[in-house]
């Protein structure tokens, strides 16, 4: 059971993030929701590579024993970098939206047009 806690956390993070994106009106809160989903996915990737009692996967002067799998960590790092770029872009767009509409309420800025 104790080993399943990270996976429960992953599911909870993704669901909370989706909830924030779908039901929150404020654009900043929606951005936070997307970041939460991203953290959930990153946590999932990291959990996959973890082995109990393992050491860092560096072969030179290794004390022996099992090593953690480095691939998920590499994937997570890439994913985090991409996530930062997306986050920065979203926040800058939010700033522009606030300048144009004077509000951050998602229901007021959308609207259909001719």
């Amino acid at each position: 059971m104790i080993y399943n806690i990270p996976y429960i956390a992953v599911a909870a993070l993704i669901l909370i993030g989706l909830y924030a994106v779908v039901f929150k009106r404020n654009l900043i809160k929606m951005v936070i929701g997307i970041t939460l989903i991203e953290s959930g996915v990153n946590l999932f990737l990291i959990t996959l590579g973890y082995r109990e009692g393992s050491i860092a996967p560096i072969y030179t002067s290794s004390p022996g024993g099992i090593m953690a799998l480095p691939v998920p960590q590499a994937l997570t790092l890439t994913s985090i970098v991409i996530g930062v770029a997306v986050l920065a872009l979203m926040l800058s767009l939010v700033i522009h939206i606030y300048r144009h509409y004077g509000t951050l309420d998602a229901r007021k800025i959308g609207g259909n047009e001719e």
């Binding site: 993704i14 997307i34 991203e38 998920p72 991409i82 979203m90 959308g110 001719e114």
Partner: protein, 541 residues
């Protein structure tokens, strides 16, 4: 004809626009004109290498490029049973077809931008983002690695989102860009989650390796659903299409044309997932009702496609904004592609109907080419009208055929092509779809034909209200658009007419190899991975 083949072509196809993207700001320091020429040369060079790659792949089969290692080491480690950790580019006929479409659209859009974006500032950033977007699209289409696919997807999303918001002085453009980035970020994160699910079970990221190992467990089902739904959303299928009209109509026209390529790259992702990643396992697995998963998936795709066609056409009929109208027509056209592909997916397992399944698949793939060109041409015409008159609303247009003679001819050709009138290219692919879906269920092809007629009605309305009618006094001084825009529209028109007049030639040379590359699972020619290992040992790399 013997063309030289380079080992590095798959890598160069992505590397050249990527390098060009970061050189553009430097070149821009020297001279604006030089920068425009530089970007066009970069796109032309990319196109040349895509052509070389296509020639190579169509003649010799799958081409593989391993990043960061030589081929002998990779084969050695594969034979020793080690997992395939390197990033591979695996290029088959389908990838080459999609790369060709992206490059043509990108090249045309760059030429078009010369005059269209002339009055804007910050064009160095515009071209940098543009080349990044093209590099991302090409990467998505050539890669053979699931995680790499995600990375390129994100590159494409970020670059295209910034380009949609390029006219930041318009609040609506920024709003559309925000919607687009939210949609793509969520879609991409779910794709990453699915990749992690697959990795956790099979310890592999390579599409071919995964495809040969997939057992179709419960986790695989979840991964399949996440991948397909996220990619369908990025491709703009109803009911997840709402971002598409916003993004298409509010971006600059040249960006919209490249965005079509990005959308179609997501469609390519759906094809890869359905046919290659899950191709081996799905057709053999049946439930207690004796329906295999491919049929179920295909039926779902057909249902979505029918809804997409009907809703796209009905919404297009109502629109007043020119580009928004074309965007809804583009959604309807996406429905036609998925109708063909879904029919292919449904009946390929059935030996009696397999011939029709193949025809439907060919029709769907052929329609990808035709739709990209037709809708692209219409968006370019809409941009030309906006450039000449500064009007977006159809209600305020009229009598423009007097001022914009060439543009009117281009629009007429685009109109006939997009609504599937013979002898344009749209008809050739639609007749393949109609006649093959008729074998599955006549209702499907009846709906498809009716909606095609409605689409013609929609564009006749546009043609009448924008180009026909008495001359409006406010458009007295409107002049024909600059040469570079005419050249861009002319290039697409020439390709449309060529495909329209010689459809069987195009089908034989590119579409049939692409369709065969997709359905070639578990056949006598062996699976994707086998072919890749074979091509390693034969020295075909």
């Amino acid at each position: 004809m013997n063309l030289p083949t380079f080992e590095f072509t798959p890598a160069l196809v992505v590397a050249i626009p990527l390098l060009g993207a970061f050189l553009t700001p430097l070149v821009s320091r020297i001279n604006d004109k030089l920068r425009n020429i530089f970007v066009i040369i970069i796109m032309g060079l990319t196109g040349f290498f895509v052509f070389l790659l296509a020639y190579d792949v169509l003649a010799k089969g799958i081409k593989v490029y391993v990043f960061g290692a030589n081929t002998a080491d990779t084969i050695q480690s594969l034979e020793n049973g080690l997992p395939l950790l390197r990033i591979l580019f695996e290029v088959d006929a389908m990838s080459v077809l999609m790369a060709g479409i992206s490059v043509i659209l990108g090249f045309v859009a760059v030429i078009y931008s010369w005059s269209f974006m002339k009055e804007n500032t910050g064009l160095d950033k515009y071209y940098t983002l543009f080349l990044l977007m093209i590099a991302g699209m090409l990467g998505m289409e050539l890669t053979g690695d699931m995680f790499n696919f995600f990375v390129f997807l994100e590159i494409t999303s970020i670059a295209s989102c910034a380009l949609i918001a390029f006219w930041t002085n318009k609040g609506k453009a920024v709003d559309a860009a925000f919607k687009y980035i939210v949609i793509s970020a969520i879609g991409a994160l779910f794709i990453l989650f699915a990749v992690a699910l697959l990795y956790s079970q099979y310890n592999a990221l390579n599409i071919a390796v995964l495809g040969s190992m997939i057992q179709y467990t419960f986790l695989d089902k979840i991964a399949l659903i996440l991948l397909i739904v996220a990619l369908l959303m990025k491709a703009g299928i109803v009911p997840m299409h709402m971002w598409l009209p916003d993004a298409y109509s509010r971006a600059p026209s040249s960006v919209t044309v490249a965005l079509i390529g990005a959308t179609l790259a997501s469609l390519y992702g759906v094809l890869r997932v359905c046919f290659t990643l899950y191709g081996n396992s799905l057709s053999n697995i049946c439930n207690n009702l004796n329906i295999n998963v491919h049929s179920m998936l295909g039926t779902l795709l057909i249902l979505l496609a029918i809804i997409t066609i009907i809703l796209g056409v009905i919404m297009a009929l109502r629109q007043i904004n020119f580009k928004r109208l074309i965007a809804f027509a583009a959604i309807a056209e996406l429905g036609y592609m998925f109708l063909g592909i879904g029919t292919g997916l449904t009946v390929l397992g059935n030996p009696e109907l397999a011939v029709y399944g193949m025809t439907a698949l060919k029709g769907g793939i052929f329609h990808i080419i035709n739709d990209a060109l037709d809708v692209g041409l219409l968006f370019l015409v809409a941009g030309a009208i906006y450039y000449a008159t500064r009007e977006n609303s159809l209600n305020r247009m009229g009598g423009l055929a007097r001022n914009l003679k060439y543009t009117t001819v281009f629009f007429l050709i685009g109109l006939l092509a997009v609504s599937g009138m013979p002898p344009m290219n749209g008809f050739a692919s639609k007749i393949l779809i109609y006649e093959s879906t008729y074998q599955l269920s006549p209702i499907l092809s009846i709906i498809a034909i009716l909606c095609s007629i409605l689409l013609l009605a929609v564009f006749v309305k546009v043609f009448y209200s924008a180009f026909m009618g008495p001359a409006q006094p406010k458009f007295k001084d409107v002049k024909e658009v600059p040469k570079s825009m005419l050249i861009a529209m002319g290039i697409i028109t020439c390709i449309i007419i060529f495909i329209g007049l010689f459809p069987q030639f195009v089908i034989n040379t590119v579409v049939t190899p692409a369709a065969e590359a997709l359905v070639n699972f578990g056949g006598e020619k062996g699976f994707y991975i086998n072919e890749i290992i074979e091509s390693f040992t034969l020295g075909g790399v």
